[in-house]
């Protein structure tokens, strides 16, 4: 049979974390309960009832020995020499807290650095293809007479046709120098209406209509990644315009061309 006192102590120990204030009660009576109190709770109760601060040193000793045994060993502190266990516990707790914060800070920095390096190496999908990967665009002379044909399938067809033509006619063409203007009177097989002049203003042009056609500057029209079919054409590129006019004149279907260019027998 437990005495009422013992029963009360048992119940109070169970509910130690809910005890907010112990008021004026004598320390000796409450000691068995306070033994069970965690350090935070003990500190709080001491704040509110300062009278038993002196007497609680033995309790604090228990807490220090339990929580900071490692640190005590590190500092080689002799246990009997310590009198104020309470403040010792405070100091050790703070020290541990700062160490923890520093360590977590380091870890956080290391992690962000790692994330950054990863980010730099990551593959990012672009909205547009970069310049080098875009399909090659054909440039046309900028004038209102010439119709603009710019779709990729069309131009490939035209370029194919042009290349075929060039292959066929290459043996009849006079030798080409890099920057000379190709004189129109030399070649009998020169395509109709073509202005082989490099400059924007053709000098001797028997085709008055074609004079309005301004070839673009040849150097800009070239793209680095050209297929083998075009290579020959590109060699002669300085003399030829990239316009579709010379080629299209070969096709009777393209009435647009035939209308514009005077017939040349």
């Amino acid at each position: 049979m437990l005495s009422l006192k013992d029963i009360c102590i048992q119940v109070a120990q169970k509910y130690i974390n809910d005890i907010e204030d112990i008021g004026d009660y004598p320390y000796a009576l409450l000691e068995p309960i306070l033994e069970r109190a965690p350090p935070d709770r003990l500190y709080l109760l001491e704040e509110r009832s300062p009278h038993f601060r002196q007497e609680s040193q033995s309790l604090w000793k228990q807490h220090v020995l339990r929580d900071f045994a490692l640190e005590l060993q590190q500092f080689k502190v002799s246990v009997p020499s310590i009198t104020d266990w309470r403040s010792l516990y405070e100091r050790m707790k703070k020290r541990r807290h700062t160490q923890y914060n520093e360590a977590s800070e380091k870890l956080r920095n290391a992690y962000t650095k790692l994330e950054q390096t990863k980010q730099n190496k990551r593959i990012v999908p672009l909205e547009r293809e970069p310049r080098s990967a875009r399909p090659q665009k054909r440039l046309r002379p900028s004038n209102s007479y010439a119709p603009k044909s710019n779709s990729a399938p069309k131009s490939s067809l035209m370029t194919k046709a042009r290349n075929d033509f060039l292959k066929k006619t290459s043996f009849t063409r006079p030798p080409v120098s890099g920057d000379s203007k190709f004189r129109t009177s030399n070649s009998p097989l020169r395509p109709l209406g073509s202005s082989y002049h490099r400059d924007k203003q053709p000098t001797t042009n028997p085709y008055p209509m074609s004079s309005t056609i301004k070839p673009p500057p040849a150097s800009n029209s070239l793209k680095p990644n050209s297929n083998s079919n075009k290579s020959r054409w590109q060699r002669n590129s300085t003399l030829q315009s990239t316009s579709s006019i010379p080629i299209s004149s070969l096709f009777p279907k393209s009435s647009r061309m035939s209308n514009q260019l005077p017939k040349h027998s």
Partner: protein
């Protein structure tokens, strides 16, 4: 033993009437009641100006619990609500209820 009854009076006027032998399980109460000199001894009344009614009620409950289950094995648990546990502890200390 004669069935004598005593009255315990709390600070807020509650009166608890119980058997004398049960009441005297508490050493303090026994001492108060048996001192022939004081008024309490004649009237079999005991006033506690420091103890509230609710606490005194719990004390009486314990005294009966103690009387009933003394020297027995199958003792049920004696419940104490946590709100009053500290005060009851101090009261129990004062009343020295063995």
């Amino acid at each position: 033993m004669s069935e004598e009854y005593v009255k315990l009076i709390s600070s807020d006027g509650f009166e608890f009437i119980l058997r004398k032998d049960i009441a005297c399980i508490s050493g303090t109460i026994k001492a108060i009641l048996n001192e022939g000199v004081f008024a309490e001894a004649q009237s079999n009344e005991c006033t506690f100006p420091d103890i509230r009614g609710s606490l005194l009620e719990k004390v009486c409950e314990y005294l009966h619990y103690n009387y009933r289950y003394k020297n027995r094995q199958d003792v049920p648990k004696f419940d104490i609500p946590p709100e009053m546990v500290l005060e009851l502890l101090v009261t129990a200390e004062y009343l020295d209820s063995e």
